[in-house]
Amino acid sequence: MKKLKTMDENVLRLTILLFAFLLIAGVTKGDSFLKVSIFQTMGKQLSEYGLMAVGCGICMISGGIDLSCVYVANLCGIVAGLLMQKSGFPIWAAVIAAIVTGAACGAFNGFLISCLKIPAMLATLGSYQLFQGISVVISGGSSVGNIPKAYSAFGSVTVMGIPAAFLVFLAIIIAMSFFMGKTVFGTRIYLVGTNAKSAMFAGIKNKTILTGTYMLSGLISGCAGLLSLARINSAKADFGTSYTMQCILIAVLGGVNPNGGFGSIPGIAIAVLILQMLSSYLNTFPDISNYYRDSIWGIALIGVLIINFTLEKRKTARQAKMN
């Protein structure tokens, strides 16, 4: 019980929401929804944009945003794919090259934002065009296929029924939860995101923190690109462009404050699960056309913002009374 109390309120709320949703889905569509194969598909899909949401989420916690996640992921996928096509190029080296590319893209974003003081939204809006452009040039505008079997097999491997991609997602979530919650660097990201000026007066090196944050976001997006390369056996410059909005939606649903300074990685992880289930659940209704999906996401985002705002206001009032 004490454990429950110390748990983040928001994470608790999301967990309850997740189980409530599972219950409803189980009761209404038990036969077609609660199947291992459906959960396996969900596990593979959510890993990719789930990772991008984490990347975008930490940037939002630092007081900015990263709109370039999807394009960094595509660029990394293309880099890895092209390298793997070359005979004799070791797969592991291609993977590392992709991750380094991701980190470099992130560092570039961080440089624009922290050194040149360009607002994060504009900086990453501009850089995503750049990254997409590079992707188009090096891939010749077509999809990069012919991935070695040894690598693409990773997309279908399961460990005790759990897709390997999902395990990668889980490992990164755990690592990032620890990083944001327990390390000095993570704590500083929260503080810079709350008030960059106060952070400067408190001796925090804002440039280092911000560059590091965006670099990390790029690195995580690179991992997402590698996962999708394995799953669909190819990479393309304009793959998954609708994920950008979804990442922001997930981060906010997961409790990240769009103004910076607040949010937790476990919250984002649970939000990913909820959203993927909602999406798969809607698929089980053949009458609901895909055209409705955008409006449903839109309603979800606005609804979450309203709920978070009201809860935050009440919490502040309650805390003010406590002191």
Partner: protein, 495 residues
């Protein structure tokens, strides 16, 4: 003389919190009445009750002999009550004319804009207080004092009989305060009653005819200003007796330890050619008006305003303070001027706010924080400085100004600095916490820390510092030591 306002037994609670526990307030026609009290004593709440913004739970309100069982904001305005809030409630993006004329035009339900009429109303308004201002200027481009005068002119347009001013001098310079007081005195002559809300001693004595003091939602005393003195005032506000004698004692030159910090012909953006020495155990004041370079000088010592020429020496060694981290490693700490935007991480917990400068030390080489170590460190400082909180996991914004300032202090004291610079250490802090902070500074100096107090509040500098530097227009115009540090000498040096 009859009463313009008489409220009796006003009670008001929010949720379970009793903000007002039966307040009586009687103001006679044509007087300047001061309402004083510490933060959270209910000053703002009673103003909002008088202006019809809040409905009291109990009690009666009578304005100009007429009782109001239920009073709405428009009742209050019709009865001639005007409130000038701290933010003045003006539109920064509109011109002076528009700000002045809007209310009237709206009240007359006119749908079309007549520029000529606007101008006429505005001219009439500023003429009432002999206020000279460019009527076409955007209000946001004007100094704070002018914004306030616009708010006053606007209040007069509404045929105000009682003008309530909520802490009107907070953001004003001395000159501006003097001008405001002239205007208030003039308004009084014309039979307008003023309710002046403040917690600044000297102002209260200077201007008011009578005083009412509130403490935690109750009135403790109402009396003519002539019957009040400084000691009583502080006592009624806080319920505590203060020994200010000891704080006023100054150490003589030579009673200090070794030189810790030395500036030689230091120049940077905002100031030029400043030289001084600071010793262990010394409390040095740096005083001057806004724009005198006092803040810029303090920032240069903290690595936030790079010097262009001159030298800074710490313990005899010349140093280049490139950034805050360098300053920190040299043992220099700074409590910034604006607690809310520069000092604190408002929505974050008290723990995070206290331990922010100590994270590296607490984590050790691994960079991993143990939440127990962090919590203990924070608890230690909360106790040591007497931060009044029930739970240090709450956001720091739930604390009062004085306690917030203690949190910023704790953050730097934890680093055991050799030089502690405080910029406006007691701005927006109530008397009790102010006394606590001043006592703490003396204690730290006693232990050998060198302290710099940067402040435009000369009373504070005289009361706490051993010596002081006077700055004006970016230059150092004098230095006063121990017994020479008096109000008269400070005024002389500032010219």
């Amino acid at each position: 003389m009859e009463n313009i306002l008489s409220v009796k037994g006003i009670k008001k609670s929010f949720g379970g919190v009793h903000a007002l526990k039966g307040v009586d307030l009687t103001i006679r026609k044509g007087e300047i009445h001061c309402l004083a009290g510490e933060n959270g004593c209910g000053k703002s709440t009673i103003i909002k009750v008088i202006s019809g913004f809040y409905q009291p739970d109990e009690g009666s309100i009578e304005i100009d002999g007429k009782g109001y069982p239920v009073m709405t904001p428009s009742d209050a305005i019709r009865a001639g009550v005007q409130v000038i809030y701290q933010d003045f409630s003006i539109f920064p993006n509109l011109t002076v004319i528009e700000n002045l004329a809007f209310n009237q035009v709206l009240a007359n339900r006119k749908k079309l804009v007549n520029r000529k009429e606007f101008r006429r109303i505005a001219e009439e308004a500023v003429a009432k207080i002999n206020f000279e201002v460019d009527l076409n200027a955007l209000v946001e481009t004007l100094p704070v004092a002018d914004k306030q005068l616009i708010a006053i002119s606007r209040a007069l347009l509404e045929n105000a009989k009682l003008i309530i001013m909520d802490e009107p001098t907070t953001a004003l310079t001395k000159k501006e305060v003097a001008r405001l007081f002239e205007i208030i005195a003039d308004l009084k002559k014309r039979g307008i009653t003023i309710l002046f809300v403040s917690h600044k001693l000297d102002e209260v004595f200077e201007i008011s005819d009578s005083i009412t003091i509130l403490r935690s939602g109750e009135n403790v005393i109402s009396c003519p200003a002539s019957e009040m003195n400084e000691e009583k005032f502080a006592y009624y506000m806080t319920g505590r007796h203060f020994d200010t004698q000891q704080l006023g004692q100054k150490k003589k030159k030579g009673a200090f330890g070794e030189t810790v910090l030395e500036c030689e012909h230091l120049s940077a953006a905002g100031f030029e050619d400043v030289s001084f020495q600071l010793h262990q155990g010394e409390i040095l004041g740096i005083t001057g008006q806004l724009g005198s370079g006092r803040t810029e000088l303090s920032l240069s010592l903290f690595g936030l305003n790079r010097p262009v020429s001159g030298r800074i020496k710490v313990e005899g060694n010349e140093v280049d303070i490139r950034d805050v981290t360098t300053a920190q490693s040299l043992g220099i700490a700074l409590v910034p001027e604006d607690r809310l935007t520069e000092g604190l991480f408002l929505p974050q917990s008290i723990i995070r706010n206290i331990t922010v400068t100590r994270l590296d030390g607490l984590a050790g080489k691994t960079g991993i924080l143990n939440s127990k170590t962090v919590t203990e460190e924070s608890e230690k400082w909360v106790k040591e400085l007497g931060v009044a909180t029930k739970n240090h996991e709450l956001p720091v914004q739930t604390l009062s100004g004085g306690n917030q300032q203690k949190v910023v202090l704790a953050r730097w004291l934890a680093n055991r600095p050799k030089v502690l610079i405080l910029n406006g250490p007691t701005v927006g802090v109530d008397i009790g916490a102010k006394y606590d902070i001043h006592t703490l500074l003396h204690q730290l100096a006693e232990e050998g820390m060198a302290v710099i107090v940067v402040s435009d509040d000369t009373a504070e500098v005289i009361a706490t510092c051993d010596s002081a530097i006077i700055m004006q227009g970016g230059r150092m115009t004098g230095r006063l030591e121990s017994q020479d540090l008096t109000e008269a000498n400070l005024a002389k040096a500032a010219i």
